[in-house]
């Protein structure tokens, strides 16, 4: 077992179901969907007209002048980081800047800023392109802005692995602490890709569900992981940041600990640029690595916040992975997909779901998977359709994320 123990001491998020952790978590436990008809003026030209906008606009929280210098993805990261920083009690804690690191990821980067400036270039000419466009759209902008705000002078990373990015950032944070490169890491992910170009692209590759977009359709019923009627994911937006800290550092300053981060596993399918390995072999290896790194007994794994995006193939493959790793214990594991409520936050997903996984361990309760009316017969998992209590004792929960490019990231959290 790795010598340095890593713990979670702070949480923050702005999500389609809540503007902070408390409201997001309560909405998840209650099975509340954050998916709505989109009202943007560009939406009529698209085959998909639903999505999960954040419940609280960042403009309601951030100072206006600061916000206009940030891509929407950075705005979400800043909102989430501020909550996590305050929650961890780091303000005025005397933390050395050289021991504070950041790993905040995005799957696509500042795509809205990029495309809005391209529109400006075409319509008004080069002179009108914002001088801030590049520092706003670069993929490391969310991480860099977080580092600027809190004076993080250790490494500032922005790992990118599409929809696994947020979880990879957390895995990277664990490594930084265990390698002694930082005592505290602000780790998470963010995404703001509800823009007509990425939405058209995802729709054209048959990844997004085209159900429920019609007038009178019910957007809240479309994201339905593992249900027989699932036909693609629903795009969400938002961000989440966790404070990861060496146990020694957390203990020395008397911090409140939500959970321990036991271990992480990262692998790649090398199978297809977009499709998951249908047998889930890469994901299986990632989960195995996470459990091995954390010296986790599979019998103690009682909860999984699954990647399950509501696509036909991916949801099945993840069930195969869990059976391959947990064996007979898979039957006692409560598996849920909070994407049924939030939609898919792409690079933000792994981070938001890490917050949910940590809260599930902390409160010993699993949120439900909504819209599971008829479970796919190929899926042999225990999926609660209303909140379900988790057992007492030392328990472990997994957070899985998989991304285009074949990325698989699993992180194992333990109760404290």
């Amino acid at each position: 077992m790795p010598s340095t123990r890593v713990v979670v001491t702070g949480l923050g998020t702005t999500s389609p179901v809540g503007g902070d952790v408390a409201s997001t978590w309560q909405a998840m436990l209650a099975g509340t969907s954050g998916i709505r008809h989109l009202t943007d003026e560009w939406v009529d030209q698209l085959p998909v007209r639903i999505g999960g906008r954040v419940a609280v606009e960042p403009s309601e929280v951030l100072e206006r002048v600061k916000a206009r210098r940030l891509d929407r993805s950075s705005q979400f990261a800043m909102v989430a980081a501020a909550q996590a920083w305050a929650d961890a009690g780091l303000e005025g804690s005397g933390l050395e800047p050289e021991r504070l690191a950041v790993a905040v990821a995005s799957g696509i980067g500042g795509v809205t800023t990029l495309l809005q400036n391209y529109d400006t270039l075409l319509e008004k000419g080069a002179r009108r392109v914002s001088p801030l466009a590049v520092p706003m759209l670069m993929p490391n902008a969310p991480a860099a802005n977080v580092s600027l705000t809190y004076g993080a002078r250790a490494a500032v990373h922005a790992p990118t692995s599409a929809c696994a990015s947020g979880n990879e950032a957390i895995a990277m944070a664990i490594d930084m602490i265990r390698l002694g490169r930082a005592d505290v890491v602000l780790a998470g992910g963010t995404e703001a890709a509800i823009h007509p170009l990425p939405m058209a692209a995802f729709a054209n590759m048959m990844a997004l569900s085209k159900t429920g977009s019609e007038e009178g359709g019910d957007p809240t019923r479309v994201s339905r992981p593992w249900d027989t009627a699932r036909d693609g994911f629903v795009l969400g937006e938002g961000g989440a940041v966790l404070v990861l800290e060496s146990e020694e550092h957390a203990r020395a300053r008397g911090a409140t600990v939500y959970a321990e981060v036991r271990g992480a596993g990262i692998s790649n399918d090398a199978h297809d640029i977009a499709q998951p390995d249908p047998e889930g072999r890469g994901g299986t290896r990632a989960i195995q690595m996470a459990l091995r790194e954390g010296d986790v007994d599979p019998a103690t794994v009682v909860h999984v916040n699954a990647h399950a995006t509501s696509t036909p193939k991916g949801d099945i493959a993840e069930g195969l992975m869990l059976h391959a790793v947990l064996g007979e214990h898979a039957d006692r594991c409560v598996v849920t997909s909070t994407k049924s409520m939030t939609g898919h936050l792409l690079g933000g997903a792994g981070a938001l779901e890490a917050v949910a996984t940590v809260m599930a361990l902390h409160d010993r309760v699993s949120p439900p998977t909504i819209n599971l009316d008829e479970k796919d017969p190929e899926v042999d998992l225990d999926i609660p359709t209303s909140r379900r209590d988790l057992p007492e004792g030392d328990i472990v929960a997994l957070n899985n994320s998989f991304g285009f490019g074949g990325a698989n990231v699993a992180v194992a959290f333990g109760s404290v």
């Binding site: 002048v65 002179r127 009108r128 914002s130």
Partner: protein, 81 residues
């Protein structure tokens, strides 16, 4: 033709929008950098917005000469001439 005060007021709105400076503080004798904390990238944004608003061109070489709000207003007045 816009008066000096009209140009100053419109420019003040732009500086407020870009840099968050209270529009009432954007007076002719104020220095963009020293008094109003408008940094170089914000100044580029102010200039581009001013070009659009006032229908003038302010070359990059000229921007460094616009130290005060009064310098900018005078330049705009001349350019609109």
């Amino acid at each position: 033709m816009a008066t000096t005060e009209e140009i100053r007021a419109d420019l003040a709105d732009i500086v407020n929008e870009v840099a968050g400076v209270d529009a009432d503080d954007v007076q002719l004798d104020k220095s963009f950098v020293d008094d109003l904390d408008v940094d170089s990238l914000s100044m580029v944004e102010v200039v581009v917005a001013a070009e659009e608003k006032f229908g003038v061109t302010i070359p990059d070489d000229e921007v460094k000469n616009l130290k005060t709000v009064g310098d900018a207003v005078a330049y705009i007045e001349r350019a609109q001439g």
